[in-house]
C-alpha cells in the first residue's frame, strides 16, 4: 500500500549571497546579453535574458499559480532553459564559422558551474507552485491507478475542442496564430526527446529498455529524415519559418518556456523519475488528440502548403507510446518497487496536465493580444487623456533611444501605457506582428503579454506610465 510520497530529505541550501553572485555572473555571459535583432539566426548559443534587470529580481520567492506568467517567471524560465540546454549538443545548421567562440563559451565549465548554482533556486521559483496546486494522498493501489487513468481518459475523449485549437480557429488572423503556435512548439520540438534521454542512462532493468524504445522512436531509429525533430523542421520550413533551433527565442511565451523546462526539471533530477514517468504518460496519451487537431488546423489554414507529417506521426505513434509507458514501464515498475511510487506518478500526470493548461491559456491570451493590437493602440488616446487629467498620476518613466535600439521582448506585471513624445517606434506583439507609433500616439500594454519595440527614427522619446489596471483609466 502506498500513501503520499515522502518529502525529500533536506539538502544543504545554497547560501543567498552565493546564489546572487552566481546569478549575476551567469547573466553577464555575453551570449545572454541584449541584441539588436529580433531573430537569433542559426546561432543556438545566443539567448538574451535582459541581464540588466536580473539584479532587481527576487527569485528566492516561490511564485504562486496566479503569478506564474509574471516577468519574474519569464526571466527565470529563460535562464533555466539556458541552464538545461548546456547539457545538450547544439550546433548551427550552417556550420560553426564565426560562431566558434560562442560555441566554446556556451559550454565553458565556468558558465556551467554558475548555471548549476542558480538552478535549484530558479526551479523552486517557477515550479514550487506545483507542490501547492497538486496534492496526492491516500492508499494507492494498481487498481486505483487504473481507475484514475480511465476516468481521466474518458474525460479527455468526451471533451470539447481544446482551448489551444479554439484559439487558433477563433483568431482574426489564423495564419499568424498558427505561426505563433509553431514558434511556441519549436523551442521543444526542434530538440525533441532531449529531456527524456537524460533518463535512459543508468541501470533500471526492463523498464529502462522499454523507455529506450520510445526514445529511439522519437529519434527515428537513426534515420535522420524520420527523426521527429527533422519532421518538425519540415513543418517549419513549409510555412516559411526558419527551422533552426531558437531562431524565435524572443517570441517564446513564458508558459512555453515553462512547459519545456518542466520536463528538463524532472529529468535532470533522477529522484523525480516516477514523477517524470507520470508526466510522460500524460503527454504520450493526450498528445494524440492535440496533434490530430493541430494537424487539421494547419492543413485548413495553409492548405497543401503545410507539411503536417510530424503531427500525423504523433497522432499515430503516441497510441503505442501511451500503451508502452503504461504496460511496459509504469506497471512493471510498481510490481518491482511497490505501490509507494504511485503517488509520484499521479503527481507527474496531474502536473503535466496543469502546466499544459497554463500554456494553452497563455497562448490564447497572446493570440488575442496580437489580434487586437490596433484596438490597444486606439485605447491610448482615452487612457492618456485620463492620466493627464488625474489628480494622482501613475508612476512614469521616460526613455530616450536612438534608431535601431531594440527592446528585447518582455512582459509587465501590470498594464502599462506607452506614449510617444517624439520620434517613431515599432511596437512588436509577435513575430512579424507590429504597430507603428508616431509622436502623440501610443498603446496600452496588457499585463503579462509578450512584446518588444524597435526605434525607427533618429531618436525616440517615449513615456511608460504604470497604470496598473487599464480599466481604471477608461
Amino acid at each position: 500500500m502506498s500513501t503520499t510520497s515522502a518529502p525529500r530529505p533536506q539538502a544543504v541550501a545554497i547560501p543567498r549571497e552565493l546564489f546572487r553572485d552566481a546569478l549575476l555572473r551567469f547573466g553577464s555571459c555575453p551570449l545572454f546579453g541584449n541584441t539588436e535583432e529580433w531573430l537569433m539566426e542559426d546561432n543556438p548559443y545566443r539567448r538574451p535574458v535582459r541581464p540588466q534587470v536580473l539584479r532587481y529580481m527576487d527569485f528566492e520567492q516561490v511564485l504562486g499559480r496566479a503569478d506564474i506568467l509574471t516577468y519574474s517567471s519569464l526571466a527565470a524560465n529563460r535562464l533555466l532553459l539556458n541552464v538545461y540546454e548546456s547539457d545538450l549538443v547544439l550546433l548551427p545548421a550552417h556550420g560553426l564559422g564565426m560562431k566558434e567562440d560562442d560555441f566554446r563559451l556556451f559550454y565553458a565549465p565556468e558558465i556551467r558551474v554558475h548555471a548549476e548554482m542558480i538552478r535549484p533556486t530558479l526551479e523552486r521559483h517557477v515550479f514550487g507552485f506545483l507542490g501547492t496546486e497538486i496534492d496526492v494522498s491516500g492508499t494507492w493501489t494498481k487498481d486505483a491507478l487504473a481507475a484514475y487513468f480511465t476516468t481521466l481518459f474518458d474525460t479527455v475523449r468526451s471533451s470539447d475542442e481544446l482551448p489551444l485549437v479554439r484559439a487558433l480557429r477563433g483568431s482574426s488572423n489564423p495564419r499568424h496564430a498558427a505561426l505563433t503556435l509553431l514558434i511556441q512548439l519549436a523551442g521543444d520540438f526542434l530538440s525533441e526527446a532531449s529531456a527524456m534521454t537524460r533518463n535512459v542512462l543508468g541501470k533500471f532493468d526492463q523498464a529502462q529498455s522499454e523507455l529506450f524504445k520510445i526514445v529511439i522512436d522519437e529519434l527515428g531509429y537513426g534515420v535522420h529524415r524520420a527523426k521527429h525533430s527533422t519532421m518538425f523542421e519540415r513543418t517549419m520550413s513549409s510555412v516559411g519559418l526558419e527551422p533552426e533551433i531558437h531562431t524565435y527565442w524572443q517570441f517564446y511565451l513564458t508558459s512555453s518556456l515553462l512547459l519545456n523546462n518542466y520536463f528538463h526539471f524532472l529529468c535532470k533530477d533522477h529522484a523525480q523519475l516516477f514523477r517524470y514517468l507520470g508526466a510522460l504518460f500524460y503527454v504520450e496519451t493526450m498528445f494524440r488528440k492535440i496533434c490530430r487537431d493541430i494537424g487539421d488546423c494547419l492543413a485548413q489554414t495553409f492548405g497543401g502548403q503545410a507539411d503536417i507529417e510530424y503531427f500525423r506521426e504523433h497522432a499515430h505513434i503516441d497510441k503505442h507510446h501511451g500503451e508502452m509507458v503504461l504496460h511496459k514501464v509504469l506497471l512493471p515498475l510498481i510490481d518491482r518497487h511497490g505501490t509507494g511510487i504511485i503517488p509520484d506518478m499521479v503527481r507527474g500526470f496531474e502536473e503535466a496536465k496543469l502546466v499544459g493548461e497554463i500554456a494553452d491559456e497563455d497562448f490564447a491570451a497572446q493570440v488575442a493580444w496580437s489580434d487586437n493590437e490596433q484596438a490597444y493602440k486606439a485605447l491610448h488616446d482615452r487612457v492618456y487623456a485620463n492620466v493627464l487629467a488625474a489628480g494622482e498620476r501613475p508612476p512614469v518613466q521616460q526613455f530616450v533611444e536612438p534608431r535601431g535600439e531594440l527592446s528585447v521582448t518582455h512582459v509587465h506585471d501590470g498594464d502599462e501605457l506607452c506614449h510617444i513624445v517624439s520620434g517613431v517606434m515599432r511596437f512588436v506583439t509577435g513575430h512579424e506582428r507590429s504597430v507603428l507609433l508616431h509622436a502623440g500616439e501610443g498603446t496600452v500594454i496588457e499585463r503579462r503579454r509578450l512584446h518588444g519595440a524597435i526605434i525607427e527614427s533618429e531618436e525616440c522619446v517615449y513615456d511608460i506610465h504604470s497604470i496598473g489596471d487599464r480599466h481604471r483609466w477608461l
Binding site: T3, D135, S137, G138, Y148
Partner: protein, 108 residues
C-alpha cells in the same frame, strides 16, 4: 472515481458510506472514512489534537492516531480546488456532497 469541487463542501457519501475531506497538514488533503472504527461515530465531528496528531471521536472519546486513520484514506489527487478520489470499485458512483465541519481543519 469521483470528482469534487472543494469549495462546495468536504463531506460526501458513496456506496452507503460517508467520507470527509480534511487537511492533515497545511496544503495536504486526505479523504477519510467517517465511521469511527470503534462504534461508527462521526469522526468528521470529532476534535483533533495537532500536537499529538490524534483524532478523538465525539461519541465515546476514543482517540485514534492520525497515522492509523491514514492507512484507510482513499487514494486521491487534488489539483487546485478540484479533488478526484477513487472510491472502492464495487460502490455506486452516486455522490451526495455537502458542507459540514470536519474534525481535522478543513481547507475550504
Amino acid at each position: 472515481m469521483i470528482e469534487l469541487d472543494l469549495r462546495a463542501g468536504n463531506v460526501f457519501e458513496a456506496g452507503g458510506l460517508t467520507y470527509f475531506v480534511a487537511e492533515s497538514r497545511p496544503g495536504h488533503v486526505v479523504v477519510l472514512p467517517d465511521a469511527c472504527p470503534h462504534r461508527g461515530g462521526p469522526l468528521r465531528l470529532g476534535s483533533y489534537d495537532p500536537a499529538a496528531c490524534v483524532l478523538e471521536c465525539p461519541w465515546h472519546g476514543t482517540r485514534f492516531p492520525l497515522a492509523r486513520l491514514l492507512a484507510k484514506a482513499l487514494p486521491c489527487v487534488r489539483s487546485g480546488h478540484r479533488l478526484r478520489a477513487c472510491v472502492p470499485a464495487d460502490e455506486p458512483a452516486r455522490v451526495t456532497f455537502r458542507r459540514q465541519s470536519a474534525a481535522l481543519r478543513a481547507l475550504y
